[in-house]
């Protein structure tokens, strides 16, 4: 996982609330065998509509999604996070998120920050006034800005630390790698080994 300090990129006024994980990625895409390459699956049914916001030319290169209340509710599928990430979305700002989705995001390097509803509304207006403009999410300062409008966002300390350090679960364990290596050095020779084949 890459370390995140600030994210800057095309902001999207995603005027929808209660976006559940089935909308983010329908179940039919869960049959795949990869953990990447889900960009085509993101918001699959909505994207059939040429006027859907992510299809519009001014929002190409979408990076920061400003969404309505309760984004990412529903099933636990990690695929929802993968799909957003593969599409190029690296941060989602909303007044409230589905719990499991928020947890999954932190583990997969997707920055998810909460901001009050009326502030999200204000961001929507700012972006729509000049579509294609960038947003900046500063994880160190915990602020999000569009043009010169800057507000603080909420993220829990632990997730923030993981994102700043670029640590997924495996990365966290590998901080103890010296102890793993030490354990392995003392491992008895009778214990199983699959290689060489005999």
């Amino acid at each position: 996982m890459d370390k995140i300090t600030t994210i800057t990129g095309v902001a999207v006024p995603f005027r929808r609330s209660n976006v559940d994980t089935d909308q983010i990625i329908p179940a039919v895409f869960l049959k795949r065998v990869t953990k990447t390459g889900y960009e085509d699956a993101l918001f699959h049914s909505w994207r059939q509509d040429p006027d859907f916001i992510l299809n519009r030319p001014e929002y190409q290169g979408a990076t920061v999604l400003f969404a309505g209340q309760d984004f990412g509710i529903g099933s636990s599928r990690e695929h929802a996070v993968w799909a957003l990430r593969d599409f190029g979305i690296t941060a989602v700002i909303a007044p409230r998120f589905g719990d499991i989705f928020r947890g999954n995001s932190g583990k997969q390097g997707l920055l998810v920050g909460t901001v009050d509803e009326e502030l999200v509304e204000k961001f929507w207006e700012l972006i729509e006034a000049e579509p294609g403009r960038a947003a900046t999410v500063d994880l160190v300062a915990r602020t999000v800005s569009v043009a010169d409008f800057t507000v603080p966002f909420d993220i829990d300390d632990y997730t923030r630390w993981r994102l700043l350090e670029g640590l997924d679960d495996i990365g966290l364990t590998l901080r103890d790698e010296a102890r793993i290596t030490q354990f392995e050095a003392a491992r008895e020779t009778w214990r199983p080994r699959t290689l060489p084949v005999r």
Partner: protein, 489 residues
């Protein structure tokens, strides 16, 4: 769970606590999980693809390819195994496993290989599963390996990736439960009947948060194949794992197998293994007793493995349950199973018999089945499938002529795989079909959409195949004069 009992480093300990403590890389603090070292990682095609892709994406290697081994089992056909797999999703999963193993340097036993088979049959058969080790696999029935006094834990795909990358797993401590089975089994009653009775007794959630230890004279008397049958179904009681302390039976099984320790290593291993048994004064968090001599051949009537009774009984009435949830579950189960309360279990007619799965597909299981069906003919209306757990078991059975016994009986003799244990490959029940199955799950649709499953032992499966209705070997002793002496598989 706050009142966990992972033992301190001193004082009396249970088998499970000893194995756990000897794999502690980092002790968790303030309620965070312990970091546990994994001795053996078994991989199959269904739960591994995203794990490998995760590694690739993060640019991580497999830390210990030499502690990892893969085989193909869930999606593989059990006929025409030399032809391309017809179902595209299945074929993709198999092909993905092959490229992943190639790319990451992992030993793979593909379809057609002599060591291919159900992952939980392959590990023990190679001598890789041994006492005092930790084994994980992206499959809930990893509990099977506990039969050796190993800690076998089933894991999810994110955890598979974690083990591939680090050879460790953060695991929350557990509680311990002793399941003591004393006394002698009557002829015709087997390990499968013990575990079905245990689950009926403690329920499908009874083992939650626990590692079960099976003990007592009836367990000690079992062969390794029988112990594996028991540990396999620990997960059906909701347990984290199930274990049996290693003894001479364990050592005799292991000695000389391809990956079993040799020479000085063997001696050192046995010296250590001898220390693993639960200390006399160790305390379990929970205890359950069962009298083996009272057990009869067992069968499930419902749609979870806890819904079981002796074959001599009748389908229970939902009203006999005081707990409203149990009553509702029973009502739903009877409806799905198309059974009326009060029907004697032995009057239930089956359409199919499935002899196989990681619960009962080892050589002794096949021998037990053969001992009953030898020289007999199956009931006309019943389809009988016999599926060995591994390619090696298949060869062994053929060397003993068991294949001929099965074919003369009218059964289909198949190639190794999970087969009809789950509806993921071509071997499936048709909607409404009823099956006596030696597998481990009787969930709705598990053996095919709309299929109805009765879990049974190999001996009950055999007797049922002969009579066409759920039957125990005892019924045959009456009707055919054959005896079931010495078939305590």
């Amino acid at each position: 769970m706050s009142d966990t009992a992972t033992a301190p480093s001193t004082g009396p300990k249970t088998l499970a606590e000893k194995v756990w403590n000897d794999h502690l890389v980092v002790k968790g603090e303030d309620g965070s999980p312990d970091l546990i070292y994994i001795d053996l990682h078994l991989v199959h095609e269904v739960t591994s693809p995203q794990a490998f892709d995760g590694l690739r994406q993060a640019g991580r290697p497999v830390r210990r390819p030499d502690l990892t081994i893969a085989t193909e089992d869930h999606n593989t056909p059990t006929l025409a195994i030399d032809r391309p797999i017809v179902d595209l999703t299945s074929r993709t999963q198999i092909e993905t496993l092959r490229t992943n193993c190639e790319e990451f340097g992992i030993r793979l036993h593909p379809l057609g290989d002599i060591e291919q088979g159900i992952v939980h049959v392959v590990g023990p058969q190679l001598g890789l599963t041994m006492p005092g080790i930790t084994v994980v696999c992206g499959d809930s029935h990893t509990s099977t390996h506990g039969a050796f006094g190993a800690m076998g834990i089933g894991i999810g795909t994110s955890e598979v990736e974690h083990v591939l990358a680090t050879q460790t797993l953060p695991l929350a401590p557990f509680k311990t439960m002793a399941i003591t089975v004393e006394g002698e089994l009557r002829p015709g009653v087997t390990a499968k009947d013990i575990i079905l009775a245990v689950i009926a007794k403690i329920g499908t959630g009874g083992g939650q948060g626990y590692v079960l230890e099976y003990r007592g004279s009836a367990i000690r008397a079992l062969s390794m194949d029988g112990r594996m049958t028991i540990c396999n179904m620990s997960i059906e009681a909701g347990a984290r794992a199930g274990m049996v302390a290693p003894d001479q039976t364990t050592y005799d099984y292991l000695k000389g197998r391809a990956h079993a320790p040799e020479g000085a290593d063997w001696d050192a291993a046995v010296a250590y293994w001898d220390t693993l048994a639960t200390d006399d004064d160790a305390v379990f968090d929970a205890e359950v007793y069962l009298d083996a001599s009272e057990l009869e051949p067992f069968v499930t009537w419902g749609t979870n493995p806890g819904q079981g009774i002796s074959l001599s009984e009748s389908v229970p009435s939902p009203d006999s349950y005081s707990d409203p949830n149990d009553r509702q579950a029973a009502e739903r189960a009877l409806e799905y199973m198309d059974l009326a309360a009060g029907t004697p279990m032995k009057d239930i007619k089956v359409d199919a018999v499935f002899m196989g799965s990681c619960t009962n597909s080892r050589i002794e299981d096949l021998r037990a089945f053969a001992s009953i069906v030898k020289g007999q003919k199956k009931a006309d209306h019943v389809r009988v499938m016999v599926v060995p757990g591994s390619a090696r078991v298949r060869l062994e059975a053929e060397a003993e002529g068991l294949d001929k016994v099965f074919e003369e009986f009218g059964a289909e003799w198949r190639f190794a795989g999970c087969s009809m244990c789950l509806g993921m490959n071509p071997d499936q029940l048709a909607p409404g079909e009823r099956c006596a199955s030696t597998s481990n799950r009787n969930f709705e649709g598990r053996q095919g959409k709309g299929g109805r499953t009765h879990l049974v032992s190999p001996l009950v499966a055999a007797a049922t195949a002969i009579r066409g209705t759920l039957s125990s070997p005892w019924d045959l002793a009456v009707s055919t004069g054959s005896t079931t002496e010495g078939v305590n598989a």
